[in-house]
Symmetry: C2
Subunit: 207 residues, 2 copies
């Protein structure tokens, strides 16, 4: 990824925060059938790995051998940036349009697990995290469903683990603009409801 | 991509609509340096190609030889789906969480163009489309900027073209749920401000 220094996201908390807020990864691999991608919600296991599961019917666990390098792409909010958003445009007209976005690329080696214990642990943690975030005390729990039903669902999935070999992250958020122009973009992304991007940009303003 | 028939997006208008609404593609290639991805706003050229441009400083035009297969991934809105959203949960409790999303995968062969005419045409069309959508009659135009400035900006970019070899699209939008459960999910994604996903799901309800 093209990554000028001023757009490099270096704080591990920001990187982990983006993955947690936008957990649906595009997991890409080069296979004998060419490049393939699957969109899967994942979680981090500390700094070491990404973990998740796919349907047994999803061929990726058959066509991607254990140990294959994959790229997991996470993307936050994105926004077209018009020169009209820069107050300095009126002064010198030396601006062109661009696009703001936040991404995290996690490179690693994937492996698949079929054992019940691993699958149950991953499904349990995914459920806890997402249910607590959405439903609080009313969180759905695996134990709410009949045991035979959950057994059947677990039999129909495969767990995977991506052992992380490298992470790069980019926050292309008008950091290279002067203060008034930066503020113009913040106002616009906020007006468009891109709350997380606006909050991240406001933090840059405060720095 | 794992693509059960009930999640396959087949209408070319829906596919084109998703690309137009979410034009920031993740363009992935297998290179000598491994898998790389860059996030770039692109446009379609009929059914034949995707076109766009990158910074001359972006190494992708140096490390991806012309004719290399690439995958351009477009993604619309996505949403965690809790079993709590299904009214039928209370009746039989036979549900588990899932994730809804819309994606388009465009496979093709990429080539890069350095000539001024191609670059100017692509920048012009990108600008027209996005400025008209955002600013209407107040659209910024390339002619608003000084000529020497635009010349300099054009000299600092490279155009590219991805000749399309295949497209697959997935709309994982609870189509496999009974009507009341489907409606429960629509209500939730609407409440979360996922307007485009809600609109697409409402169309399914009306079918």
């Amino acid at each position: 990824m093209y990554l000028p220094d001023h757009f490099r996201e270096t704080d591990p908390a920001d990187v982990a925060g983006l993955i947690a807020a936008f957990p649906l990864a595009a997991i890409v691999a080069q296979t004998e059938q060419g490049l393939i991608a699957n969109h899967i919600p994942v979680m981090t296991e500390g700094d070491a790995a990404l973990i998740g599961h796919v349907a047994l019917a999803n061929d990726m666990h058959r066509i991607i051998p254990d140990g294959t390098p994959v790229l997991a792409i996470f993307r936050g909010q994105d926004a077209y940036v018009s020169p009209n958003l820069y107050p300095s445009k009126a002064l010198h007209h030396r601006h062109v349009p661009t696009w703001n976005y936040q991404v995290v690329h996690v490179a690693g080696r994937i492996s698949f697990q079929h054992d019940d214990k691993t699958k149950r642990a991953i499904v349990g943690r995914l459920t806890r995290d997402h249910e607590r975030a959405m439903n609080g005390d009313a969180a759905w729990r695996m134990a709410d469903a009949p045991r035979d039903y959950i057994e059947g669902m677990l039999a129909a999935i495969v767990a995977f683990r991506i052992d992380i070999t490298g992470i790069i992250a980019k926050a292309k958020l008008s950091q290279n603009r002067e203060a008034a122009d930066h503020a113009g973009v913040v106002g616009s992304v906020e007006a468009r409801g891109l709350d997380m991007m606006a909050a991240r940009m406001r933090r840059d303003s405060a720095d």
